[in-house]
Amino acid sequence: MVIRAEVRKDVIAICAMHKDEPSPLMIILSQIQKKYGYIPLEIQEVVSQETGIPVAEIFGVVTFYNFFSLTPKGKYVIGVCLGTACYVKASQPIIEKFQTILGIKAGETTADGLFTIEAIRCMGACALAPAVSINGKVYPQMTVDKVAPLIEEYRHMEVKA
């Protein structure tokens, strides 16, 4: 994969922004992840050149944390909470329903690049259990029956856009 010149420039700028911080790697990676949705090896190489941290070490960090991804995530990231409070209120059948309808497993992205399903370990919205979040928006008290209409809502938004 070849990275576009403006992306390279941007990543270099992100690295420069934090050069005075002690051990800035996590901050840099977080920012890249938030902006681009993933951190492929090619980007890690740029970060390595800019910070002097070996690529092997950066790769180790990227693969350690759930928040960082090596592959692009969908436009809409569906997080189904499997924290204890949600789990005891039956969130497992809800994630299964998302998986059946979208035909992907947790951690995967649909072929059209629209949806990613993620199993979340508690977003701290336990009073809303079972909770689902899509790109950060929390949907409280989910039920299996609400899954299909919710996906439709987002597909509809896409068609309109």
């Binding site: 051990s23 759930n66 370990r121 409280p140």
Partner: protein, 624 residues
């Protein structure tokens, strides 16, 4: 706000802001105040839109001079949100919708009449409750950590100053020596709220004894225990209180830099903290020569990236250092050699939130609350199968019965209480027989669980305890960092054994093997994650031996949760032969003749999705 350069100017600001805040709450000058909850729970239920609607309508009606609209932090009673509170009457409206705003403005704010339909109704007495403090959920609570949450606007330094903020800092910097601060905290008896319950004063003393120009205070806001959300609510509701606690810690043991480590999953908390840090820096409450006393302190924030193990203090330090969040062997403890090799104290959010209170009221007063070995209050996140889901702060020593039934309002749908899980993936279950035990750090451990961060998940008769243990093991295996093999491999094997049991392939030998392996993992693991990983299994095995027995010997799941060990069954005497189940069945495994023969499920084909049971109009289908 002008620069705060010395104790006198801070005192002036405190007086000025307290007066303004007091006026707002008491409605002096005839102005009324509307508070709208801006906690994550209420935000998910559109409280932001409610706030905007209030602002819009108040402006349209030209009421700006008579009503102020404020956004505040979490009310704690999250299952009843979004909340809107009206001062000075102290009227609390619950489950407010955007469409209710008009009514609140017209009836209450203009008409002076309480909107009866928006009041909380006590589920037992069926009476409407007007004031927050009269609701059972709040009656037995005592708010120290949650001080100011749901009262002050967490985005405004002035509001914090108007509600006790930075009084403790002023007292510490102007009248106390660092050693006096440590002694005060030691005497208060406060223990770390993060889980292990180590005395905070002792930790500070260790760090204070180290000779080093550079030391760090780290605030652990990596609240990973699923089901716990008190740290999030405190940071969202009153970030200033925590920063103040951190500064006092820094002064006490000689640190000039503080780091917040907050989960990436808590964007609202991160944003409010950053704003608070920024505003404090602008007025000179952070930076060099604070209050002209020569004390320098700077605060930084680092976001986590989704790793449960980073809640372990040494893993957290590695993460701040930009490394994989793997624990370090201890000793050396962080107080000796921590962040970047310098003496460091890692304190939990809730611990730091209690520090300003301790300084304000004094150690002796603080120590009056709680039990012999555990002082002060603890915030619990009540969740799961309980009516009043939310955050409750109670004195240490409160019984589980008070917590679950008086405050929590009992179990929904008339179901029977089965267990309460405390301490998250490191803790255990408590049952009926533990209900009257006063809870503190020591009694919980004696009863086979632990305090942990304060997550408390209630389970009813519909929850299978083997499945719960299986759930925690799944969690642990995916969150084990992989550094030491007892945890990395051992928990995986435990998980497999539990899977066998829930699939009906377990034997009594499996149970013995699990116990043996659990003790190996406990002894051999590097950090607390591994050392406590087997607790959910051991605790459920001890408290619910019959349930394990039913799974391995009778091959039955008494709660009908484990799919391989349960069946859906159509009662022929209740079946009205309508054929709805057969039409709904995704695998066409139900047969019968409409109007003539009752329907039957072919168990060999059934995938146990439950669609038939959910759809049956005559409740003829049940699990067995």
């Amino acid at each position: 706000m002008d620069k705060i350069t010395n104790a006198e100017s801070l005192q002036k600001d405190i007086e000025h802001c307290s007066k303004a805040f007091d006026e707002k709450i008491k409605g002096l000058g005839g102005k009324r105040a509307v508070m709208v909850c801006g906690g994550t729970g209420c935000l998910a239920n559109d409280s932001d839109a409610i706030l905007k609607e209030f602002e819009k309508q108040i402006k349209e009606r030209g009421l700006e001079g008579k009503v102020s609209i404020n956004h505040v932090g979490c009310f704690g009673f999250c299952s009843q949100g979004p909340f809107v509170k009206i001062f000075p009457e102290d009227t609390l409206y619950h489950k407010v919708k955007v469409s209710d705003v008009k009514q609140i403005i017209e009836d209450d704010l203009i008409g002076g009449k309480i909107c009866e339909n928006l009041l909380y109704v006590d589920p037992v007495t069926k009476e409407k409750v007007v004031r927050q403090d009269d609701i059972n959920f709040y009656k037995k609570q005592m708010r120290i950590s949650l001080h100011g949450c749901s009262l002050i606007n967490p985005d405004l330094l002035e509001e914090s100053l108007g509600y006790d903020g930075f009084k403790a800092l002023k007292k510490v910097l102007t009248t106390m020596t660092p050693q006096q601060v440590i002694d005060e905290v030691l005497q208060s008896g406060i223990r770390g709220r993060g889980g292990a319950g180590f005395p905070t004063g002792k930790k500070w003393q260790f760090a204070a004894n180290q000779k080093s120009d550079i030391k760090y205070v780290v605030c652990n806001g990596d609240e990973g225990d699923p089901g716990a959300f008190m740290d999030r609510s405190i940071l969202e509701g009153n970030p200033f209180e925590v920063i103040e606690g951190m500064m006092i810690a820094g002064y006490a043991f000689g640190a000039h830099e503080g780091y917040f480590y907050v989960r990436a999953e808590y964007p609202v908390a991160v944003q409010r903290l950053l704003r608070a840090i920024d505003d404090m820096t602008k007025v000179g409450l952070l930076g060099d020569n604070i209050l002209g006393t020569g004390f320098n302190f700077r605060v930084h924030l680092r976001e986590g990236a989704g790793a449960f193990v980073c809640g372990e203090e040494t893993a957290l330090l590695n993460s701040i250092e930009g490394k994989r969040g793997m624990p370090r062997p201890r000793p050396p403890f962080p107080a000796i050699k921590g962040l970047w090799g310098k003496p460091t104290c890692v304190n939990n959010v809730e611990t730091l939130a209690q520090i300003p209170y301790i300084i304000r009221v004094g150690a002796a007063e603080y120590a009056k609350v709680g039990t012999q070995g555990s002082k002060g209050t603890k915030v619990f996140a009540l969740g799961g199968k309980i009516n009043n889901v939310g955050l409750v702060e109670v004195p240490m020593g409160t019984t589980l019965r008070t917590l679950i039934f008086d405050i929590g309002g009992g179990i929904p749908n008339g179901k029977k209480f089965k267990a309460i899980q405390t301490g998250g993936p490191s803790g255990g279950c408590l049952t009926e027989e533990d209900l009257d035990t006063p809870i503190d750090y020591d009694t919980l451990i004696a009863r086979g669980s632990m305090m942990g961060s304060g997550g408390a998940i209630v389970m009813d008769e519909d929850n299978c305890m083997v499945d719960v243990a299986h759930f925690y093991m799944d969690f642990i295996t995916s969150e084990s960092c992989g550094k030491c093999s007892p945890c990395r491999i051992g928990t995986k094997r435990l998980y497999e054994m539990l899977t066998q049991i829930t699939n009906g392939q377990g034997t009594e030998q499996t149970l013995k093997d699990m116990k043996e392996l659990a003790s190996v993992i406990k002894l051999g693991s590097l950090c607390a994650l591994g050392q406590t990983a087997a607790n959910p299994i051991l605790s459920t095995m001890t408290k619910f031996p019959d349930e394990y027995h039913a799974h391995v010997v009778d091959k039955k799941c008494p709660a009908h949760v484990c799919k391989k060990l349960m069946q859906f069954y159509i009662d022929p005497s209740l079946c009205k032969k309508c054929s709805k189940c057969a039409r709904n069945c995704p695998v066409s495994c139900i047969s019968g003749v409409p109007g003539k023969e009752p329907y039957v499920i072919d168990q060999s084909k059934c995938i146990k999705c439950g669609t038939c049971m959910a759809g049956c109009p005559f409740h003829a289908i049940s699990k067995r």
